[in-house]
């Protein structure tokens, strides 16, 4: 009885297609490639251009682009990708509930043979690839076959208002202690030290992880987030507790926008762009809001505890492109992936704030602009292998657990020790359920 009404079809692990004889499109018959993406704004326009150029290069290929917003793509993809009219190529969010489940269901193609043929693994550093790696049965994250590929990245760091920093007689801090004293100086001068609004809950994660990244090792954080050592790793560590203590301390000392708990993220970005606040901790995606070519703002990675230590920050791969296991033209799809991650694509996408992480790509950015700072910082972190995956990828429920715990921590409702215990409970729960 249980078998008869069990939901979900049969699953088979997807088998990797054989390595193509040559790269590029060799097919000469007419081919239609359906691509699902969630890009918007300027990036979306560049995609249209890249698609048109691909079709010009290979006249027998027609690209059918299906553009959906992030939430819609997430909800519909599960239904569509298994069906006969599903996409051939799709932008998939990393992590357990998204790419992990699709891999487990055998709905995505392992890309290892293509990666070798096109030399993808040499173009970006391993930590950019790792977030798209899964064991073929989807039980291990961060290791195994490659199921998605991108050369574009994201990075979380600290934006600063150049004029204000100057007025306060400060320069870009080189140690964590420097940064903390800069916050104090800003506070004394009556400025808002860190522009922040946490009504949307997700920004709180970014404030926490940039501190955590300086107090825990990249190896620990990566293994913890990928769950590579199961329950042998715990969130209840001195470093994580210390990071929580620092964040709570900052909140208590009034280093954040007054009333940050009730302020929206978009408002915070707008206020920072208007000149309110000395610093703002967030990701590369606000470059366009500040004016990519502007020199009124700058960007640096949260400085390390000890001066001169290699830069570490949360970030890494942006949305990767994956190939559906049901596609009839995997070779054409692979050629498309290569096209969308080429140096040419990087050049077109750069002005939109998309950060190229491909090694050895000379990107024409102007020094001294926000965009220049962000691209430079991302390259430095990536080259030093200092990219830490997003903390909320650790378990399917980690986003909800950490955002709620950070809100409570910053409202002084829980102690740093209770904070790490709350998060550890979620982690051990999930790790136990895996075995």
């Amino acid at each position: 009885m249980t078998a008869a009404c069990a939901p979900g079809g049969e699953t088979q692990q997807a088998t990797a297609p054989p390595a193509p004889v040559t790269t590029g499109v060799t097919e000469t018959e007419p081919v239609t490639l359906t691509v699902w993406d969630q890009e918007w704004g300027q990036v979306s326009k560049v995609w249209d251009q890249l698609n048109a150029e691909f079709m010009q290069e290979y006249p027998n290929v027609t690209i059918k682009r299906v553009n959906r917003d992030f939430g819609e793509l997430k909800a519909l993809l599960r239904l569509a990708i298994a069906g006969p009219k599903g996409p051939d190529v799709v932008e998939v969010n990393q992590g357990w509930p998204d790419m992990g489940q699709l891999v487990k269901a055998g709905l995505l193609l392992p890309l290892d043979n293509y990666a070798e043929a096109y030399g993808w693994t040499d173009r970006v550093s391993e930590n950019v690839l790792a977030v798209s790696r899964w064991s073929p049965d989807g039980s291990q994250f961060g290791t195994g076959s490659l199921f998605g590929y991108t050369t574009f990245g994201e990075i979380i760091g600290v934006y600063y208002n150049a004029k204000k920093l100057d007025q306060l007689g400060l320069s870009v801090p080189t140690t964590f202690a420097d940064f903390e004293s800069a916050l104090e100086t800003a506070k004394q001068a009556g400025e808002v030290p860190i522009q922040f609004g946490n009504l949307d809950a997700f920004p709180g994660i970014h404030e926490y992880v940039v501190i955590q990244d300086q107090l825990e090792s990249v190896d620990y954080l990566t293994d913890f987030i990928f769950g590579l050592q199961g329950n042998d790793l715990s969130f209840d560590t001195p470093g994580n507790t210390q990071a929580a203590t620092a964040l709570q301390d900052w909140a208590e000392k009034g280093y954040f926008t007054p009333g940050f708990g009730g302020g929206g993220y978009d408002d915070a970005v707008a206020n920072f762009a208007k000149g309110e606040g000395v610093f703002m901790i967030t990701g590369n995606w606000i470059v366009e809001n500040l004016g990519a070519e502007s020199s009124d703002f700058g960007f640096f990675v949260m400085p390390p505890m000890e001066a001169g230590a290699p830069p570490v920050s949360t970030g890494g791969a942006g949305f990767p492109l994956s190939i559906s296991a049901g596609t009839e033209n995997p070779d054409v799809a692979a050629a498309y992936l290569d096209w969308m991650t080429s140096d040419h694509a990087a050049e077109l996408l750069l002005p939109t704030g998309q950060i190229p992480l491909s090694i050895g790509t000379a990107v024409p950015v102007q020094e001294g602009t926000v965009l220049g700072d962000v691209v430079g910082a991302a390259a430095a972190v990536s080259d030093a292998n200092g990219m830490v995956p997003y903390l909320d990828w650790a378990t399917p429920t980690f986003y909800d657990t950490t955002t709620a715990a950070i809100q409570e921590l910053m409202a002084m409702r829980i102690t740093p020790q209770e904070f790490v215990e709350q998060i550890q409970a979620d982690y051990s729960n999930f790790q136990s359920s895996r075995s």
Binding site: P7, G71, K104, L199, G259, G262, G263, G264, P396, A404
Partner: protein, 319 residues
């Protein structure tokens, strides 16, 4: 199978028109005839396809652990057990109980009070006021929610007004929606603003249908305004009260839109509600089985509450 009784019943109908029945007719008027099923069939098929079938599917899913793609595993009542053991779910129902004060109790009390006052005095331009009070219900929740987010902001109009009259200390440092203690009541007051007009409109309509002679009789008997309310107005509004109570209680149990837009269940979990948990498990976490079980339990609770409320109100009416 259905064709046979259809023919037979037509024969009877034709026969009984021609002559007086010599024997008791097969069907008395109002007595059930199998042809009735045929009339019901079109509606029933649609209802079954779009309501009963998905419900059955939902019940089936609730016994599985399923992520929405890979084969589910049978877990029996595990998902239902969670309902009793998961403190997050208990917290959600706790919040709903508190919200009922704002979504159900207060709108009814205020609505009754105003209806009683309006039944005693004539107000010029009543239609205008009715439209005004009903307006919140006509505008989409999501739109009004966005406006309320701004009003509740730490620099919003309410806070600014309070500061102007020297009551700035009443403004929580994170605004009303960002404060752990005030977020839920703030959502509640937003709901009250929307619900109140609905209650008042129904009660006003109800008051108009109470015969004026009853009021006159009460006044002749020397009843004051309060006696008049309890002796005439309240009993006269029994059915409206029942409708409002049942609808608002069910509505509160299913609260979702305002939480989704206003607070996303935050700060922390201070405004989490069952419907939000169900949505989040289904679409964010891919816990389809667990979401289905929670949905079924919520449905059963709504049924039970409706049943109990109706029984209580009907028994009260018989007395």
């Amino acid at each position: 199978m259905e064709a046979e009784p259809a023919v037979a019943s037509r024969a009877v109908a034709v026969g009984s028109r021609r002559r007086r029945p010599s024997r008791r007719p097969e069907y008395l008027p109002g007595e059930s005839r199998r042809i009735g099923y045929l009339y019901v069939a079109p509606a029933f098929i649609l209802y079954a396809a779009f309501n009963l079938f998905p419900l059955g599917q939902g019940i089936n899913l609730s016994f599985y652990r399923w992520d929405g793609i890979t084969p589910g595993t049978w877990v029996g009542l595990q998902n239902y057990r969670e309902f009793f053991t998961d403190p997050a779910i208990r917290e959600g129902y706790n919040h709903v109980l508190k919200l009922m004060v704002f979504y159900s109790f207060l709108p009814i009390v205020l609505g009754l009070f105003l209806a009683a006052v309006l039944s005693r005095i004539r107000i010029r331009g009543l239609t205008f006021f009715r439209v005004l009070l009903f307006l919140p219900l006509v505008i989409t929740d999501v739109v009004t929610s966005v406006a309320w987010i701004w009003m509740y902001d730490v620099d919003g109009p309410i806070a600014t007004a309070l500061r102007h009259i020297g009551l700035g200390a009443l403004v929580p440092s994170n605004g009303w929606l960002g404060d752990f203690n005030t977020a839920l009541p703030a959502v509640g007051i937003f709901g009250l603003w929307g619900q109140f007009g609905f209650c008042l409109i129904l009660f006003l309509a109800g008051v108009m249908k109470i015969p004026a002679s009853l009021y006159e009789a009460a006044r002749v008997d020397g009843a004051n305004a309060i006696r008049e309310f309890f002796a005439v107005t309240l009993p006269g509004l029994r059915y409206e009260l029942q409708v409002v109570l049942v609808l608002s209680v069910i509505g509160t149990l299913g609260t979702f839109d305002e939480i989704y837009v206003l607070t996303s269940g935050g700060p922390g979990t201070a405004t989490i509600v069952p419907a939000y948990t169900i949505w989040s498990r289904l679409f964010n976490l891919g816990q389809v089985g667990s979401a289905a079980a929670l949905g079924i339990v919520l449905m059963l609770i709504v049924f039970a509450v409706t049943f109990v409320l109706n029984r209580l109100l009907e028994r009260g009416a018989e007395r």
